[in-house]
């Protein structure tokens, strides 16, 4: 049974988020430079949910985050919250996509979502009673470069990923 265009898009988005979660827990730790690392989950969620409905997007971000939490050894719930907020940011900013194009859209959304994700990563350990990094140093040396790096990645790759996600409509003849 063939899937409809919308369903195909949801499946592709889900696979993309799952792949992003997998890369987030396997590849990202190996590419970490200090506090700076590629945030595959954020990138995947932001791009994957760009053309989904609101509820679908939020659920996909949430479960993508849950998957990341489950596969990683970090604090459970941080990834889920980061995924939800990344999806929400993507939904909020997607109105500019038609004006500025896919690359700049992905870069903006990812930059904001990474800042939020990094702040969650800063305060979650403190809330859990663990030692966190020095706030000012982390903001200057971690959050800002992390957002810039991931924005660059999103700018370079976002356009292509969005094209892969797009389901071509068959023409009626």
């Amino acid at each position: 049974m063939a899937l409809g265009g919308a369903q195909t898009h949801v499946v592709r988005a889900t696979l993309l988020v799952a792949l992003a979660a997998l890369l987030e827990v396997t590849l990202a730790p190996l590419l970490t430079f200090g506090w700076v690392a590629p945030r595959f989950l954020i990138l995947g969620v932001v791009v994957a949910v760009a053309d989904l409905r609101d509820l679908q997007a939020l659920l996909l971000g949430f479960f993508g985050g849950i998957l990341t939490d489950a596969l990683s050894g970090g604090l459970f719930g941080v990834g889920a919250l980061g995924g939800v907020l990344a999806a929400a940011i993507s939904l909020r900013i997607r109105v500019v996509r038609r004006k500025v194009g896919a690359g700049p859209f992905a870069a903006q959304a990812v930059a904001v979502a990474v800042v939020v994700y990094d702040l969650l990563g800063l305060f979650a350990p403190i809330l859990a009673g663990q030692d966190g990094p020095p706030v000012a140093t982390y903001l200057a040396g971690g959050v800002v470069p992390d957002a810039l790096l991931n924005a660059l990645l999103a700018y370079l790759a976002g356009d292509r990923i969005l094209k892969l996600m797009t389901v071509k409509e068959e023409k009626w003849t």
């Binding site: 596969l71 604090l75 719930g77 889920a80 919250l81």
Partner: protein, 308 residues
């Protein structure tokens, strides 16, 4: 609405994870996933090993300042701890000096030992108090709970005074040998019978234990004599009668008088403990070796008894 619900769900998961122990369901899920992903991680690790090496180098460069800061902080803490230990030690010594004050004595202000004097055969120190502070020649110098460590010599300036230590061969003092207080006598008997042949080890134990024991000033004297250091370097009590009951572990305190004559030191100042007692038929007196109660090397704060 969905956004708020999912955020709350995330926070609930976070709370459960933080509250549960390592065997909780969320931790178990993570452990299982880690096992499943191990081969994948290994594969990626192999592929990205050049990046990892570069990352470690970058991190090392970034963390250098933090490492230096931590080392400096650790050094600071060590210095603080050493200073605290020194102050605690000093506080203990000063407290002991104050607690040991006797109402019938007049003490000088606290004096600090500023320099050792002399060579191998002399045991003298200089303190930072002199005639301006009421210090005169021939006055007893004490530490702790009235433990005699020497006397001032003729070399007293307005702000310094030379102290002849009890271990100097020119020092002499009339002393009495007193047993420990009754409650401690039993342990002393045991130690005495167990160590007829006095070893250095038991003497050291006696010396360390002496600070916790007290002489029984009300008991009959176990002997009297003259405290002095022999040319061989042993601090001992000369002229102890062969019939005297002096034994190892007894206390040696100043007698204060000899017959009807007042002596140089007030009575009852602790000098040390009897380390060994021996006698031979051809000798007229017992050979008594004394372990000083205060070590010259440890002297820091002392007081001069200027009147009694």
């Amino acid at each position: 609405m969905a956004l708020i619900t999912l955020c709350v769900a995330s926070l609930v998961l976070f709370t459960i994870y933080v509250k549960e122990d390592d065997s909780g369901p969320l931790h178990t899920v993570q452990l299982g996933a880690a096992e499943v992903l191990r081969p994948v991680r290994g594969l990626f690790g192999l592929a990205t090993s050049p990046f990892s090496a570069a990352s470690e180098r970058v991190e090392g460069a970034l963390d250098a300042s933090e490492k230096k800061e931590l080392e400096a902080r650790a050094l600071e803490y060590e210095e603080g701890a050493a200073e605290a230990a020194r102050l605690r030690d000093e506080n203990g010594r000063l407290r002991e000096l104050l607690d040991g004050e006797r109402p019938s004595f007049t003490y000088s202000p606290l004096a600090r030992v500023v320099a050792p004097v002399g060579g191998q055969l002399t045991e003298r120190v200089v303190i930072n108090l002199g005639s301006d502070h009421g210090v005169r020649p021939e006055q007893p110098v004490v530490v702790g709970n009235n433990t005699l460590i020497g006397r001032t010599t003729e070399r007293v300036t307005p702000n310094t005074a030379e102290v002849l230590l009890v271990t100097d061969q020119n020092f002499a003092a009339g002393v009495r040998i007193l047993p420990p207080k009754a409650s401690q006598g039993e342990t002393d008997e045991e130690s005495t019978t167990a160590g007829e042949s006095t070893s250095g080890e038991s003497a050291a134990e006696d010396a360390s234990a002496a600070s916790e024991r007290e002489p029984d000033f009300g008991a009959d004297s176990h002997g009297e004599g003259l405290l002095r250091t022999s040319w061989e370097g042993y601090l001992g009590v000369d002229y102890v009668d062969l019939n005297a009951d002096a034994e190892q572990g007894d206390f040696v305190v100043t007698s204060g008088r000899a017959g009807g004559r007042e002596l140089l030191f007030p009575p009852g100042l602790l000098v040390g403990t009897v380390e060994s007692v021996s006698s031979q038929d051809i000798n007229q007196y017992k050979n008594t070796v004394v372990a000083p109660a205060a070590e010259a090397d440890d002297l820091q704060d002392v007081r001069v008894i200027v009147n009694w």
